[in-house]
């Protein structure tokens, strides 16, 4: 189970979030991204076991209006996907940074995390994008 009490720790400029527990990283899209997308109607998740490099296309999220790519924030193998999104894609809007998580990855290189933003830096980044 995902620890829903733990808030995301790392953020990307593409609006993914990452929470690390041990050697697993849970990945989703941020509240900012979910609000910008609008009503999510479909999420395409990768196959478990797929190896991703940081920046690779990892998933696709579709709103009523458009399809958007979700990128791997770090390198690693897909360990688990959130199958609940198949039948309830709206969870991405309802709880983007908790139950609306996309995948869990085996962290290949923990050093990559240091390249990501923390919450304060991400909030500043969103504010600059919105203005």
């Amino acid at each position: 189970m995902t620890d829903l009490t733990q808030h995301p720790t790392y953020f990307t400029k593409d609006h993914e979030w990452v929470t690390v527990h041990g050697d697993l990283a849970t990945v989703g899209i941020t509240k900012f991204a979910a609000e910008a997308l609008g009503d999510v109607v479909f999420v395409e998740l990768p196959d478990v076991g797929k190896a991703c490099s940081a920046g690779d296309d990892m998933a696709v999220v579709e709103s009523v209006k458009a399809a958007s790519d979700v990128y791997a924030p770090i390198s690693g193998e897909i360990a688990e996907v959130n199958d609940a999104l198949t039948d309830a894609p709206e969870t991405v809007n309802e709880a983007p940074e908790a139950g609306g998580w996309f995948v869990k990855m085996k962290v290949a290189n923990a050093d990559e995390l240091s390249a990501l933003m923390d919450r304060a830096a991400y909030d500043d980044f969103c504010a600059s994008e919105a203005s």
Binding site: G38, D39, V41, F42, E62, V64, K65
Partner: protein, 388 residues
Amino acid sequence: MAEADNDNLMRTALYELHGALGAKMVPFAGYEMPVQYEEGVKAEHLWTRAHAGLFDVAHMGPASFRFKPGMGPDTPDERFAELARRAETVIPSAIGVLKPGRLRYTVLLTDEGTIADDLFVGRPAHGPRQGDLYLVVNAGVKEADFARLSAVMGEDVELERYDHGATLMALQGPEAEAVLEGILPGVAAMKFMDFSPFPWEGQGVIVSRSGYTGEDGYEILVWNDHASAFAAELLKDARVKPIGLGARDSLRLEAGLCLYGHDLDVTRDPIEAGLSWVIQKSRRERADFPGAARILAALASGPAELRVGIRPLERAPAREGTEIFAGGEQVGIVTSGGFGPSVEAPVAMGYVRADLAAPGTPVELMVRGKARPAEIAPLPFVEHNYKR
């Protein structure tokens, strides 16, 4: 009026109102337009199907052609007949038969008989205006449309454009009639495709019982200095919410209505587009429109491809440009696709080889490199709710 690029977008008279209503604005056809408001595309779509939605469609091109002062025949009947005759040289519908106060959906043809635009044409209801030819063309091609039509109308005819001085808005949905009747008494008696002037606050507004959502409703042309007040008057009614272009697109897609530049363009003729009904019998017999030989041959023997509805059988939407396969080969392409909030499933339109166009025919959609099952579906996806 110069065409705007994305750095120099035009704004409609309702721009300030959109801001106050929390709209997300996007560039569209040279204008800065609301794509959605705070509740989002899905809620706006469902609201319109259940209540009444207000749309800013002031980017479109309403206009009238009329004879210049002192020119043309004497009576309104003769003037309209002559304008209709000239328009019919590039439009394959019977326009001259339109009664005062009636509109008709049709297409503007290229010299080859393909579709340069889809549009509404009408004959005004009252007085000397009965001698005018009214039309509403699409935003993205209005300059080209007006140029093509002006060329066949000739030197003795002038074009009055309303797209810069007036605001076209649409009120759509099952509660539109009750709402608008309270503001413009008499509109409830109008039938689908009627249009007529009504007085409001000492001015005239032009009302048509038409729209592009599949729902009953109206389009209202209001002079710019009264446009915000008129929209605010509508929004005072709790049954009315503002609706953006996002929901306008999903509503018209569910209704099986074509979007120019996507489902229709200069590579398609009216027959393959499933619009043969816009060419009335009298025009088929006269065969006097551009590309008549090609179009009538397609009508007689069937076109190579047909516009169809498509239902993806899985949850992944198929967007515009998605290739359609059958038996291992490409047999068509999706021209509009997304998620239908009322259908609660993905829906699409596109063109397929005519032998595969029957509803229920299985096809595959190539979405992100993966073949996904789909079937040809009847259009519309949601029944029309027009008041005929």
